[in-house]
Symmetry: C2
DNA sequence: CGCCAATCCGTGAACGTTCACGGGAGCGTT
DNA sequence: AACGCTCCCGTGAACGTTCACGGATTGGCG
């Protein structure tokens, strides 16, 4: 548990002053070549590493942003995170990733600790704004996929309406009439995506869409499709809450002896890269996931830097139909 | 670009001293209930947030570890990262994630910047130890999946030998004799996994194993299988460098009209959760990915905290055959 | 009334670095 | 010889917080 080696130790060993050591290490000018080398040698000798705290304290740059994600193992969030990391790297910012494990308790715990570690936070939150505000105590925050009422927040909006309409158009054009949906079983109320689906169906004069609920996993999707087809064997197409569920459905369909897309068309939501590894490749209402992550980071960074934030209309990510093989 | 609001501002507004503000915010004792409330109100009013730098400077706790990963979109590394995040959260440590985008240049850039932001680093590096050491300048480092020679490093060793032997045993028992491998095409030299494969084959008296090279992606795996089967149509089984490649191979096999595992058995490496969403579910030589990440973080954290590091034998992660459906 | 303890609060110092400024040495110019 | 310029280096201050200590006020008790 030895004391930390400081810049003064290096200075003493090299026979110079603090400032000269600082100059040597930061490649500032105003220093002789030979003394610079001497300082560098001394630093290496002593195993000196500058304290990031002391350094951060005096120069105000160095921004790090907290990225809060419900579940890194969910490929959707992985892609968002990847986009965020890329954007941050381009700007020289740092990202601390927090995985809340889909748990409210963990989310609270994360919020508790995050304020003292980052300059701003972005991500997926499920707490209401009042509680968020209370925990964050003034920390700039960017909410993804969710609108804000308090002006202190910023948000990245996801618009899937157009994409879902395209998907249903695509199915109807191909002759489908009996189209079901696999919503997710997580929250109490039906999802926004389900609303888009219902609207799109109504627009084609197709009513009473059949809906099943799936846990957010491939197995959940498989089970839900089983159940749904058990009740409504005449369905010729299904739209799912997301790609994970769709991939489960794909597998279940094959087990049931249904060829995709001939006997059953499947359209997912998210447009994951992963959709290409299954057979047939998944047709999906695609979101630009990397862009979502990049926008979130960009906005968060601007908020802390005091730059002019991105305008509302640029914070919108729209989905489009990505036709592959499953429909 | 207003000045930062400091603890002194809060103190002035609340009509107390710095120290009292500090006490109020950190739930220390020795403070009257009413003044504490007054301070808290003032802090909220002003939007005060303590500087993490100043705080970190004076109290020496708060460790953050850098996690360096070649490609977060690769599900294998995602699982490792998830394990790392979980372990870090349990310990109250923070993790800054760096994605080097599979590029040496980015890896160098990351190393350049990482030393000033974290207390230790863990992850996958492709630079040689000498250069690593030069860039890291004394920063504790844990190498994953790779042995170290310099005692200053620590490493998480991956042993796949037993698992690969199990895999080949499994195939041979099922009657397979003509078994090929899809190695990865990245580095110059053949992989360790290929060595294990060759050894296992030799043990069964099966020589001259046929090997193809695949880019690390599903498409790469598909292409490589095409090519391999083109040259050696009599193969009845393939072992692949990893699951991603295997999933591509799976898809390619189906396109070629080969049923898996009847006409062609496929065994991957990694044991990704993802292997269950494809059909048939992927048989694989499985690694405990979460444990890899957790061990890396644990060891890195111990190094910075000065705790006794984990002994060599605990830093070993062994692979075992995970039989699902594709073989 | 005097004393002690408990409770609450404030003041200097320290953490380790960079910034702003100043100063000395050496050399050339007038 | 005086001056100015360039090059190199050092000293005080500042960043914002917590720690260690000491002081003031109050209440209780003999």
């Amino acid at each position: 548990m030895s004391k930390r080696v400081t810049i003064n130790d290096v200075a003493r060993v090299a026979g110079v002053s603090r400032q000269t050591v600082s100059r040597a290490l930061n490649d500032k000018g105003e220093i002789d070549g030979s003394t610079k080398q001497r300082v560098l040698d001394a630093a290496r000798e002593l195993g000196y590493r500058p304290s990031r705290f002391a350094r951060g304290l005096v120069r105000q740059d160095s921004t790090t942003i907290g990225l809060v994600i419900p579940d890194l193992l969910n490929p959707f969030f992985t892609e968002v995170a990847a986009g965020a990391l890329e954007a941050a790297r381009a700007r020289g910012w740092h990202v601390i990733v927090y995985d809340t494990a889909d748990s409210i308790a963990e989310e609270r715990g994360t919020l508790e600790v995050v304020t003292s570690q980052v300059d701003a936070v972005a991500g997926y939150f499920s707490l209401d704004e009042a509680e968020l505000d209370r925990h964050l105590s003034g920390l700039p925050a960017v909410l993804i996929g969710r609108d804000h009422r308090m002006p202190r927040f910023s948000s990245i909006r996801i618009d899937g309406e157009k994409g879902v309409h395209e998907a249903i158009d695509h199915l109807v054009t191909a002759g489908h009439r009996r189209i079901g949906m696999l919503d997710h079983a997580g929250r109490a109320e039906p999802s926004l995506r389900r609303d888009w689906f219902t609207d799109a169906m109504n627009e084609h004069g197709l009513h009473a869409p059949v809906v099943g609920n799936a846990v957010q996993s491939a197995d959940g999707g498989a089970e839900a499709l089983h159940e749904l087809l058990g009740q409504h064997p005449d369905l010729t197409a299904v739209f799912t809450y997301n790609d994970i569920i769709a991939m489960g459905a794909l597998k279940a369909a094959r087990k049931l002896g249904k060829a995709v897309p001939r006997d059953l068309a499947v359209i997912g939501f998210d447009g994951l890269q992963l959709g290409t590894v299954v057979d047939p490749a998944l047709t999906s209402v695609a979101l630009d996931t990397r862009r979502i992550g990049a926008l979130a980071i960009e906005q968060a960074g601007r908020l802390v830097a005091g730059e002019t934030p991105l305008p509302e209309e640029e914070l919108l990510v729209s989905a489009v139909l990505l036709v592959r093989e499953s429909a």
